[in-house]
Amino acid sequence: MAIAALTHLTYWYPGGAKPALSDVCLQIDEGLTVVAGPSGGGKSTLLRIFNGLVPHFHGGRIGGSAEVMGLNVIATPTRKMARHVGFVFQDPELQTVYNVVDREVAFGLENTGVPRRQISGRVEEALHAAGVGALVGRAVRTLSGGERQRVALASALAMRPSLVVLDEPTSQLDPEGAQTVLAAATNLVDEGTSVIISEHRLGHLLRRAGGLVLVDRGIVTGADPSTWIPPAPPVRPARSAALGGEAWSLQRVSAGFDGRLVLEGVNLSGRSGEVVALTGPNGGGKTTLLRVIAGSLAPLFGSVWRCRGRVAYLPQNPSVLLHRPTVRDEVSFTLKRSGELERPGTILEGLGLLPVADRYPRDLSCGERQRAALAAVLPGDPALVLLDEPTRGIDSTARGALVVLVARLRDRGASVVLATHDDDLRNALADRVINVRDGKVSEATFAGRT
C-alpha cells in the first residue's frame, strides 16, 4: 500500500536558479525504502518533502503535488505533519532541546498536547523501541554519538508516527554506533512502521529494503534494491615513491582539556610518504591525537616533534573552515598564505568542484561542503596532512577522488594521518592502522597493508 505519492513535483530553494528537485513522480510503499545518490544530488531535500520541512520551513517555490499518509504536504504545516511523520537528522548534537533523555523524548508529545499522564508511558515505549530503554534519566551530554542518535530516533517514535524518515543518521557515528542505529531502524519495519532512510552504508539496508530511490542532480528515479549494484569501493593506488624519514613523533604524550585526560602515555610516529589511519570508537581520542600532532593542542606531558613545512588540517566539522565568498577563494586563500604557486583549479578539478567553484561554500550540500573544505586545506605541497573523518557525507565518486588526491600527496612525500570510520578509505590508503581507544593507542592488524 502506498504511504506517499509525489506527482510532477518540482522545488526551487529561495533564490535558486535551478530546481533542487525536478518533476518528481514517485510512489513509496509501506516497509523500508532506501534513498541513495551522490552528495548534493537532492536526497535531503526529497526527504524533507515527506514531513513538509520543504517547503514550509525552507521556503522557496514548489509545483506539483505531494501526499504523505493521506495528507496534502503542501497545504499541511510541518508541525501538523509531525503527528504522522517522524524525522531524524544527521547531527545528533543539533537536534537536542532538553538536557535529560526522557524529557528530550517527551518534547514532541508536550508540543502536541498529549495529556501528562500518558507521556511517561509513551516515552518509555519509544526508548525501548529504539533500544535505549536503560537511558531514562541520563543527561544527554553524557551519551555517546550512537546513543544520542537512538534517543533522537526514540523522540521521533514517541509520537507513534506511521512513517519515520532518517537523513544519513549514521554519518557521524563509529561502526558500532552506526550498526545499533540501523538495527533499531530496521526493527521498526518489523513492527509495522514504514521507514525511509538515506544512507551511505547501504549493504545491510539493501538486503532488507522493499524500495530503492535514486536521486541525482534533482532527478528522482526508482530502482529494484535486489538487483541494483552499489558503487564499488575505491581502488588502492599504486605507490610511486618509497617511504622517507620520520616526519612526526610523539613521546610519552598525555593530553586532554577541561580537566579531563583524553590521551595517556602515547608513543607514536609517522614517516614521510606514509599514510597512518586512526580508528576506534567515538570519544576514544582520535581528534585529540590529531590536534596534538598538528600542534593545536599542547600535551600535558611528553614531547611532540614535527618536521618543517606546512600542516594541512581538516577538522571534523568542515564548516568551521569556510568563510570566503566562493569555493575558489577558499583554495586561493590557503595557497596565498603558504606562498605556493599551484592554480586553484587543479585541486577543484580533482575533487569535482569546478561546477560549484564560484558558489558560496555554505550554500552547498553537506557532502559538497566536505569536498570544499578538503580543497581548502589540501592544495599545494603540505608536509603533514591530518584529516579528521574526511569522507563524512561524501559519495563514492568523491571518495575515489579523495583517495587519488591523498595518494598523490603521499607520493610527493607528505606524511598523512587519517582519523576515519570508513573501512573503504582505510583499505585504499593506509600503510598502518592505529586503534585509538580510551586514550590509548595500539597497532591494529590490517589486511590492506602492502
Binding site: 508529545l109 594541512a312 588540517y313
Partner: protein
C-alpha cells in the same frame, strides 16, 4: 527544590538589593546568596562565578574612584590638567563605588540559583503557560552554547594552520565570521528539528513538574516574610537610607530588616536538614 520556590527566593533577594541604599543589607543578601549557592551547588562549582563577580565589584569600585571626584575626605589628588583623571580622589567616592559593586555582585548571585541549581527544563516547567513556548526556545538556544565554544576552538585551530595570526580587528573576522555562521546554522538546524517535532502546534503540556513540597513552601514563606519585613521597614523609614556624600557616615542597622535578610538563609537550612 522546586523552581518556583527558587524563583520566589531570587525575586525577594533582588527586591531587597535594589530597594535599599544601605551597604549593610546589601552585604547581608550577598552573604546569603553565596551561602545558598555554596550549599546547593558546592563551592568548587561556583568558584569561577565568584571570581567573575569579585572582578566586576573591583572594577565598579575603581571606576567610581577615578571618575567621581566628590566627597570631603581627600586621599590624594592629581593635577586638574590631566583630562578625566585629574582632581581629588576621595574615600567617599571609593566607598560609593564599592557599594555599587556589591549591588551588582549581589544581584548576579541572587539570580544565579536559577541556572546553577536547576535544570533548564525545571525552569521551563515553572513558567506560566503563556510563556512556555518562549521558555522552550530560550532553553534550546542555551543548549547551543557549548557548541559555540567548541566551534570557536575548532575555527581558531583550523585557521591558525592555514596561516592565520591574530593581527588586529580585520584578521579577527577570519575567526569571528565562521564562528558566527556556524552558530547560526546550528540554530537553524535546531529550529528545523523542533518544527519537525511539532513545536508551535498548539497548547503544550509538560511531562512532569516537580511537586511542591513542604520545604519549598518553607522557602517561599520565608522569602515572603523577608520581603514584607523589608518593604515595611522601608516604608516606615526604619530601613534607613544611606548616602556617603559629602562626608562618609556609618549606615544604621535595625532589627526588622536584618531579620528579613537573615530569612534568606532558609534554603541553606532546608538543604542542610536533608543531608
Amino acid at each position: 527544590m522546586n523552581a518556583r520556590a527558587v524563583a520566589a527566593w531570587s525575586a525577594c533577594s533582588l527586591f531587597i538589593i535594589l530597594s535599599t541604599t544601605s551597604p549593610v543589607y546589601k552585604l547581608m543578601v550577598l552573604a546569603a546568596a553565596v551561602s545558598v549557592l555554596a550549599a546547593g551547588a558546592g563551592l568548587r562549582r561556583i568558584r569561577a562565578l565568584l571570581v567573575a563577580v569579585l572582578f566586576i565589584g573591583a572594577f565598579a569600585t575603581l571606576l567610581n574612584f577615578v571618575s567621581a571626584h566628590l566627597g570631603a575626605t581627600v586621599l590624594f589628588a592629581l593635577p586638574a590638567q590631566i583630562p578625566a583623571l585629574g582632581g581629588p580622589y576621595t574615600l567617599e567616592a571609593m566607598v560609593f563605588g564599592a557599594v555599587g559593586g556589591i549591588t551588582i555582585a549581589a544581584a548576579i548571585l541572587s539570580a544565579a540559583p536559577l541556572s546553577l541549581l536547576l535544570d533548564s527544563h525545571e525552569v521551563m516547567d515553572a513558567l506560566p503557560a503563556p510563556l512556555s513556548r518562549t521558555g522552550v526556545a530560550i532553553a534550546a538556544s542555551l543548549n547551543l552554547v557549548p557548541a559555540v565554544v567548541t566551534s570557536y576552538i575548532q575555527v581558531t585551530d583550523a585557521q591558525r594552520l592555514r596561516g592565520w595570526k591574530p593581527r588586529g580587528p580585520r584578521s579577527l573576522m577570519e575567526v569571528v565570521v565562521p564562528v558566527v555562521l556556524t552558530s547560526v546554522e546550528g540554530s537553524i538546524q535546531l529550529a528545523e528539528s523542533m518544527e519537525a517535532r511539532g513545536f508551535g502546534s498548539g497548547a503544550r503540556t509538560t511531562m512532569a513538574s516537580r511537586a511542591f513540597r513542604r520545604s519549598d513552601w518553607l522557602v517561599v514563606a520565608a522569602s515572603g516574610v523577608a520581603l514584607v519585613a523589608f518593604a515595611g521597614s522601608h516604608a516606615t523609614g526604619s530601613a534607613g537610607d544611606w548616602f556617603p556624600y559629602p562626608t562618609l557616615t556609618l549606615p544604621t542597622i535595625h532589627p526588622v530588616p536584618t531579620a528579613g535578610c537573615l530569612l534568606l538563609l532558609a534554603p541553606v537550612i532546608v538543604w542542610r536538614s536533608r543531608r
